[in-house]
C-alpha cells in the first residue's frame, strides 16, 4: 500500500525537484543568452555548465518518476499523460542545453542593433516557459486553477511569436552590411530562442486537456 510506504512522498519530492530543474534551466537560459549578447563569455560558460548539470539531473529524475509510477501503479488513469507532460517539459530543458551549446559552437556574430530585440525575444520566450511551471505544479495540487495559470503561457508565447517575426524582418530588411549567409544564420538563432516558447505552448496544450479531464 503506497500510503504506508515512502514511495508516494519520494515521488512527490522527485516531481517537485524535476520542476525546479526546468525552472532553473529557463532562468539560466535567459541569463546565458544575455551574457552571450553582452559578450561576457566567462558568465556564458558558467551558465552553460550549470544548464548541463540541470539537464542531466532532470533526465535522471524523469526516468525515476516514470519508473516509480509504473512499478507502484501510481495514477493508473492519468499516468500516460503525466509521463508525457514530464517528457515535454524535459524537452524544454534539453532544447535549452542544445541551443546554448550551439551558440558556443557556431559563435554567431550579433549586430549591435539586434541586441535589444534578441533580449526582448529571450525574455518573452523564457517567460512563457517559466509560467508553465506553476501551472504544472497546480495540476497536482489545485487542478481547478491550471487553466487560468496557462493563460500567461499563451500570452508570452504570442509575444514571442510577434517579436520573432519582427526581429526576422529587421534582420532581412533593415540590418545593413551583413551578407545573406550571416542573415540566415541570425534567423536560425532567432528560431532557437523562439523554440522554447513553442515547446512551452505544446506542454501547455497537453496540460490544459489534462486539467479538464481531472476536474470533470
Amino acid at each position: 500500500m503506497a500510503v504506508f510506504t515512502r514511495t508516494t512522498k519520494k515521488l512527490i519530492l522527485r516531481i517537485d525537484e524535476f520542476f525546479d530543474n526546468v525552472e532553473l534551466g529557463v532562468l539560466v537560459f535567459r541569463e546565458g543568452i544575455k551574457a552571450y549578447i553582452e559578450k561576457d563569455m566567462e558568465a556564458y560558460n558558467r551558465h552553460l555548465h550549470k544548464v548541463d548539470s540541470l539537464e542531466s539531473n532532470a533526465d535522471k529524475l524523469q526516468r525515476t518518476i516514470e519508473n516509480d509510477m509504473i512499478t507502484h501503479s501510481i495514477l493508473p488513469q492519468n499516468r500516460a499523460e503525466v509521463v508525457t507532460l514530464i517528457d515535454r517539459m524535459d524537452e524544454i530543458i534539453d532544447t535549452i542545453k542544445r541551443s546554448l551549446n550551439e551558440f558556443l559552437i557556431e559563435m554567431p556574430e550579433i549586430p549591435e542593433e539586434l541586441n535589444k530585440d534578441l533580449i526582448n525575444l529571450t525574455e518573452a520566450s523564457a517567460n512563457a516557459a517559466e509560467e508553465l511551471i506553476p501551472a504544472a505544479r497546480a495540476y497536482f495540487k489545485a487542478p481547478y486553477t491550471v487553466r487560468e495559470k496557462l493563460l500567461k503561457v499563451y500570452y508570452f508565447e504570442g509575444e514571442a511569436d510577434k517579436l520573432s517575426l519582427y526581429t526576422k524582418k529587421k534582420i532581412f530588411q533593415e540590418v545593413k552590411g551583413i551578407d545573406l549567409a550571416h542573415k540566415a544564420h541570425l534567423r536560425y538563432i532567432v528560431h532557437h530562442i523562439e523554440n522554447i516558447s513553442d515547446l512551452a505552448q505544446k506542454a501547455a496544450d497537453l496540460l490544459s486537456g489534462m486539467a479538464i479531464k481531472i476536474v470533470m
Partner: protein, 411 residues
C-alpha cells in the same frame, strides 16, 4: 449422498463469487488502482468472515419465503439458480444471485403446491427497489463529501490517489464482508433446514451447524472469486460510466453500507430500540445496488455520461433472472422427482408459511467429513498464502536489484 446434494449450493456459491465480487472490487480493478490478485485475496478472506459471523439474518427471511423441506429440493433449486447465474455471467452481464434464488424458491413453491408468502415476497422485492435507490443517495452524498474535502485540502494528486488506493482496499474488504454476510443466505440458506451438524471446535471458537455450512459456502464464493471473477471485474463499472478512482471508492463504500444495513441485526435492533421500524434483514442484490450507486454518481456528474444501452441490458437481465431460475427449477424438480425418484419436498399443511422444518438429528459421519474438509481447506489456504507471499517477495527483491543495477550502470 447428503454431501453430493450440497454441491449444487457450492456451485451457486462459486457463481456468486464469480459474478458478485466484481461489484465489490470491479471498479478498483477496472480502473487499475488495485491488482486483481490483491483484490481476490482480500475479497476471499472477508467474504468468508462475513458469511460466518453475520450471515444468519438473511437466511431466516429466505426460509420464510419458502421452507424447502427436502434436501433433493434444496439441491435442485440451488442448481437451477447457479446455472442461471453462470449463464448470465458467461454473457458478462452482472446478474443478481438473490433474484435467481428467489425465482427458484417461487418455482419450488409452485411445484410443491406451497403458498408463497406475499408479505415476505413484497418485503424482498421492496428491498430490490430501495437498495439501488439508497445506494444512489449514499453515493451522491459521499461523492459530494469526497469532492469537497479534496477541493478544500489542496492535497497533492499523488497523495490523494494513494489514499484512494488504500481506501479502495479497506472499503473493498468491508464490501466483501457485507457481501458474505448478506448473500450467503442465497447460497446456503436453502440447506440450513436440512442439515444439522455437530458443533466444530476450532480451538479459538466453535462453529455451529449453520456457521459450518456458511463457511463452506463462503469458501465456494472465494473459489468463484479467485477462478472466474477477473473478466467481470475488468468490465464492470467502467462500462456503465467512466469512473474516476475516487468515484470508484465512493461507489463501493455506498454499496457496502447498503449491504451492511440489510444484513446487520445489531443495527436493526438499534432501530427498534429508538422507536423506528426494524430494518428488514433480506439478501439484497449487490449488482442492483452497484448500478444504483453508479447511476447516482452519473446523475451528480451530468446524465450524459451514462451508458443507457448497457443499463437496459442489465435491466433486462434483472427481469429475466428470476423468471429463468423459476422456470428452470420447476422443470428440474419435475425430472428429479419423476425420473430419479428423489424427494424434492412436499406441501406443508397448517400454518405453513414462515415455518422452517425441524432439522434432522446430527449425523456424526457427515459432521466428521465436513470437519476434515473445512480443516483441509483452511490449511491449504494458509499454505497457498505463504507460497504467494514468498513468490511476491522474491519478485520485489529482483525488481529492486534490477533497478539498482540500472542506476549503477547509468553512473
Amino acid at each position: 449422498m447428503i454431501l453430493f446434494f450440497l454441491t449444487s449450493g457450492l456451485f451457486l456459491g462459486w457463481s456468486l463469487g464469480a459474478n458478485d465480487a466484481s461489484n465489490v472490487f470491479g471498479s478498483a480493478v477496472g480502473s487499475k488502482m488495485v491488482s486483481f490478485r490483491k483484490a481476490a485475496i482480500i475479497a476471499s478472506i472477508f467474504v468468508i468472515l462475513g458469511a460466518v459471523i453475520q450471515g444468519a439474518g438473511g437466511a431466516q427471511t429466505l426460509g420464510k419465503l419458502g421452507a424447502v423441506n427436502a434436501i433433493g429440493g434444496s439441491f435442485t433449486l440451488a442448481l437451477a439458480a447457479g446455472v442461471t447465474v453462470y449463464l448470465m455471467t458467461k454473457l458478462s452481464l452482472p446478474v443478481s444471485t438473490t433474484q435467481a434464488i428467489v425465482g427458484a424458491i417461487i418455482g419450488w413453491n409452485l411445484f410443491t403446491g406451497n403458498r408463497t408468502d406475499p408479505g415476505t415476497l413484497t418485503k424482498i422485492i421492496a428491498t430490490w427497489i430501495s437498495g439501488p435507490v439508497l445506494g444512489a443517495l449514499f453515493a451522491i452524498l459521499l461523492f459530494m463529501l469526497v469532492t469537497m474535502i479534496r477541493k478544500k485540502s489542496k492535497i497533492h494528486l499523488i497523495r490523494f490517489e494513494s489514499f484512494i488506493k488504500t481506501g479502495l482496499l479497506i472499503v473493498g474488504a468491508f464490501g466483501a464482508y457485507s457481501l458474505g454476510a448478506n448473500n450467503i443466505a442465497n447460497v446456503m440458506g436453502v440447506f440450513v433446514p436440512a442439515f444439522n451438524l455437530q458443533p466444530l471446535d476450532l480451538g479459538l471458537f466453535t462453529l455451529t451447524s449453520e456457521q459450518q455450512l456458511f463457511l463452506l459456502g463462503g469458501i465456494a464464493i472465494a473459489a468463484g472469486i479467485i477462478t472466474y471473477s477477473k473478466k467481470v471485474m475488468e468490465t464492470v463499472g467502467a462500462n456503465i460510466v467512466d469512473l474516476s478512482p475516487d468515484a470508484a471508492m465512493v461507489v463501493v463504500l455506498a454499496q457496502s453500507v447498503v449491504l451492511f444495513v440489510f444484513s446487520s441485526s445489531v443495527l436493526s435492533d438499534a432501530f427498534v430500540r429508538i422507536g423506528l421500524p426494524s430494518i428488514p434483514l433480506v439478501p439484497v442484490s449487490s449488482s442492483q445496488i452497484i448500478v444504483g450507486c453508479v447511476i447516482g454518481i452519473g446523475l451528480y456528474k451530468g446524465i450524459r455520461n451514462i451508458n443507457f444501452k448497457l443499463l437496459g441490458q442489465i435491466g433486462l437481465g434483472w427481469l429475466a433472472t428470476p423468471l429463468i431460475a423459476g422456470i428452470m427449477t420447476y422443470f428440474s424438480l419435475f425430472f428429479i422427482k419423476n425420473i430419479f425418484g428423489i424427494d424434492v419436498g412436499h406441501k406443508v399443511t397448517g400454518p405453513a408459511t414462515g415455518t422452517i422444518p425441524v432439522p434432522l438429528s446430527p449425523d456424526p459421519e457427515v459432521s466428521e467429513m465436513i470437519r476434515y474438509i473445512l480443516i483441509g481447506v483452511i490449511a491449504l489456504s494458509i499454505i497457498a498464502g505463504v507460497i504467494y507471499y514468498i513468490i511476491d517477495h522474491r519478485k520485489q527483491t529482483e525488481l529492486k536489484a534490477s533497478e539498482e543495477r540500472f542506476w549503477k550502470n547509468m553512473k
